[in-house]
């Protein structure tokens, strides 16, 4: 009765062998994105002149253009732009372009997530920091951001999962991640057994996402202890 042309086991193996690359893109862009996002959030909150307006434009652009377009812009456009200044980046691996694009893209989303969490922490905590003689950056590092990250976790989980799924676009510029591998398998079989391949890739993405969900949930539980205030209201 078996009409499948693939061995399920080998298919999974073939796809999973590319999972590390997908995860690498996810983690690398997340790290850079988190750093940039925090920076942008603080710039927006402090309303630092010029930068503040520039960041608003950047966020608007990042959120309102398709990621695929951004990827092409950076992969095809950036080398051309830089070559005008005498900088050649044509031999940089597509993977780096992909990570750069994803980092910028997710930083826009994370900036908004962190900004809302920062506001939720409240002015009170900042004033308390000032009252004991801390500078703004000390207050950020030691009191405000640690609390903001905990508040941001649920929304951040959302964004991270979105990012994981967005990494499929990397194959369009030649990065052989999970999706790239799948396209190769299908190509090698002249388009046969497509359904089977997509079932496998769905399960792999689903499993990875579920794993991320569990991690986020555990983190939320872990950090909850210092936060719920029974005495205040």
């Amino acid at each position: 009765m078996d009409s499948s042309i693939h061995e399920w086991g080998t298919l999974f193996q073939q796809v999973l062998s590319r999972l590390p690359l997908t995860l690498l893109m996810l983690v690398a862009s997340l790290m850079v994105g988190l750093f940039l996002g925090t920076l942008i959030a603080v710039i927006r909150i402090r309303k630092i002149p010029v930068l503040h307006q520039l960041m608003a434009i950047f966020i608007s652009f990042s959120r309102c253009t398709p990621l695929l377009v951004q990827l092409f812009l950076i992969y095809f456009g950036l080398p051309q732009l830089l070559s005008a200044f005498g900088i050649y980046i044509n031999d940089v691996a597509p993977l780096i372009f992909a990570i750069a694009t994803f980092s910028l893209h997710i930083s826009a989303y994370l900036a908004e997530v962190i900004r809302s969490a920062y506001i939720a922490v409240g002015e009170d905590q900042l004033e308390a920091c000032y009252s004991v003689g801390m500078t703004y950056s000390q207050a950020l590092r030691r009191v405000i951001l640690p609390q903001a990250f905990v508040l941001a976790l649920p929304n951040m989980g959302n964004t991270i999962i979105e990012l994981l799924k967005d990494t499929v676009l990397a194959f369009t510029i030649g990065v052989v991640d999970i999706m790239g591998q799948v396209r190769i398998i299908i190509g090698n079989n002249y388009g046969l057994g497509m359904f089977q391949v997509y079932v496998v890739i769905s399960i792999v993405y689903w499993g990875t996402c579920a794993f991320i969900e569990v991690i986020i949930h555990q983190l939320e539980k872990h950090f909850k202890k210092g936060r719920i205030n029974v005495a205040k209201s």
Partner: protein, 251 residues
């Protein structure tokens, strides 16, 4: 010694402080009373620049004088390092334990060694009677306990003055007692305090200098004897009468 001169503050078109002058000597316990909206809290917050005054000068100690027109960041930081504040809503660091709440300022802004900071914090926790809560988070404490930690945090910094912003307003009557007792105790130790409060009896008992504010002005100031027991201004009399008035009916 603290000297404030001609403090003005406007929020949009609403003038909250209309030229306040005040002198506080070392060891003074100064209470500021007055109706809600009279600018008491805003004035207190101007003292450590949590609120930036529009005009006026703030002098603390012999050397540090800050002009509201051109305050440097360094001066403001220095001012804040010479003062401490106790807040109406406690404002403990929610992500730090009780002990860390007290050591934080010592380690971060005063650059004390960790072991030294912990020693100071532990002795203060003993003083405010919360040694056994040392490793708990603020969220698991009652309001009164949180406020006692807030006071310990301020005391730990060994500041020139501690500013109290209605420290008992968010507490239920039972907890008010424990906080006021603690405040009386530290007042007796000769620590300079500026207290915004609605607890008139407390003000009379503890302070040596009372200021009555209304509409952004100081209406009357002097010893508790003068201001609370024998006020001369009509507005002060009216305010205190309302507070002491017997209930007109009993249910």
């Amino acid at each position: 010694m603290i000297k404030l001169n001609g403090i003005y503050k406007k929020f949009k078109d609403h003038e909250v402080l209309k030229g306040i002058d005040l002198k506080v000597k070392k060891g003074d316990v100064l209470t500021i009373i007055g109706p809600s909206g009279s600018g008491k809290t805003t004035f207190l917050r101007c003292i450590n620049f949590l609120e930036k005054p529009d005009h006026g000068t703030i002098q603390i100690g012999e050397k540090l004088v800050i002009d509201a027109h051109k305050p440097s960041k360094r001066d403001i930081l220095q001012l804040r390092r010479q003062t401490a504040m106790v807040f109406q809503n406690y404002n403990l660091f929610q992500n730090k334990t009780v002990l860390e709440n007290i050591t934080e300022g010592l380690i971060v802004s005063q650059k004390k060694k960790k072991s030294e900071a912990i020693q100071i914090a532990e002795s203060l926790l003993k003083k405010v009677g919360l040694s056994e809560k040392r490793d708990e988070f603020p969220s698991s404490l009652s309001g009164g306990q949180q406020q006692r930690v807030g006071i310990a945090r301020a005391l730990a910094l060994n500041p020139d003055v501690i500013l109290f912003d209605e420290p008992t307003s968010a507490l239920d009557p039972e907890m008010v007692g424990e906080v006021l007792t603690l405040m009386k105790e530290i007042a007796r130790e000769g620590i300079t305090m500026i207290i915004v409060t609605h607890e008139i009896d407390f003000a009379r008992e503890v302070s040596n200098h009372v200021v009555f504010m209304e509409g952004g002005h100081i209406v009357e100031e002097g010893t508790p004897e003068e201001v609370i027991l024998h006020p001369t201004k009509e507005r002060t009399k009216q305010f205190l009468r309302r507070l002491n008035k017997e209930p007109e009916f009993v249910i």
